[in-house]
Amino acid sequence: MARRDEEEFTAFVQRQSRFVFRVAYAVLRNSHDADDVVQEVFLKLYRNNAWGSMRDEKAYLARIAWRAAIDHLPKQTHTEVDEIEVASIAPSPEQTALEADFQRKVHRLIDGLPEELRQPLALSTVQELTSGEIAQVLGIPEGTVRTRALRARQLLREKLAALEGQRHAAKHS
């Protein structure tokens, strides 16, 4: 690789690595695995010499990052939401930090969603991606992406409301 190409590639990696990381992390929920995916994605781009001729850089990167992350995903990652619910109502040392606790609960509930709902929602949390780009990444129509993301949000709200009700009931009993 010529020196100029190397500098350009380095700049490209610095510019997009965070984005690729977030896409990978949205799928894998593990920083180390996401780091591996980032490396794999950029090495693949370097090998194919495709990084200089991308039309829609973000959509392309999101697609290959998502595929690489799916390959890294263990076969059975889907955990039952009910198990998480039981764990989440157990008293924790961070109960006073309500916001942090709330975030953890939301993330656990998202992790417990079926993959067909979780992935559109997870990719939609990556701010830079539009529903059209997510549709390209997942290979499904844009309308389906929106429907599934909305359905996932609705499910999460219901679960959170149920959790809140259980917590109040546990407090007053």
């Binding site: 590639f9 965070r18 992390y25 949205a26 996401a34 916001e99 709330f102 998202i110 959170l160 809140e164």
Partner: protein
């Protein structure tokens, strides 16, 4: 959990936004450094393999050339011996085979056909009288030119030279202690 609906929605959106943005996410510079280190390592490996793949055929060719060179030298001597042996007269030999066919010379059967050899006339005396040698010719000339007396003298001298030599007996006196220094 936030109690009011606006608070809930705000916290809910914040929690969603944080889903793919962990606190321990890699920094772009660190990620880029990792990737570039891997890229450079692969470049080095690639160069190494390119060098090996370029050198391997060259070494192979050199090996084959060496085997051919040293393997051929011995058969060439054998070939020379085989070619020099044939008993066919020079005039009747088959035409020289081309160089590429010399490795395994073939005898042409047609050249050994019995009809091709001319028959020699049958002789009355066996073995056939051979012509005189140079020494015999000189002797005949000497006999013709020199008179009989000279011839007899020469014969006599030759006979004398054939007789055994007679040497007088030697008398060696005993060593005496007085004669010694």
């Amino acid at each position: 959990m936030p109690q009011s609906t606006p608070d809930f929605e705000r916290e809910f959106e914040r929690a969603l936004a944080a889903y793919a943005d962990p606190n321990d996410a890699g920094y772009p510079q660190v990620l880029a450094a990792r990737v570039m280190a891997e890229v450079r390592m692969r470049q080095r490996k690639r160069r190494l393999w390119l060098g090996i793949s370029a050198a391997a055929p060259l070494l192979g060719c050199m090996l084959v050339a060496a085997v051919l060179y040293f393997g051929r030298s011995e058969p060439q001597h054998r070939e020379a011996k085989v070619v020099s042996i044939p008993a066919i007269p020079h005039a009747e030999r088959a035409p020289e085979p081309p160089a590429y066919a010399k490795a395994r010379p073939k005898l042409v059967r047609g050249a050994r056909a019995p009809n091709a050899r001319p028959r020699l006339p049958k002789l009355d005396q066996f073995p056939a009288p051979a012509p005189m040698s140079e020494q015999e010719k000189l002797l005949v000339q000497f006999v013709r030119r020199t008179p009989p007396s000279t011839q007899r003298f020469v014969v006599k001298m030759q006979e004398q030279s054939d007789e055994p030599l007679r040497i007088a007996e030697l008398s060696i006196p005993d060593l005496d202690s007085k004669t010694q220094p």
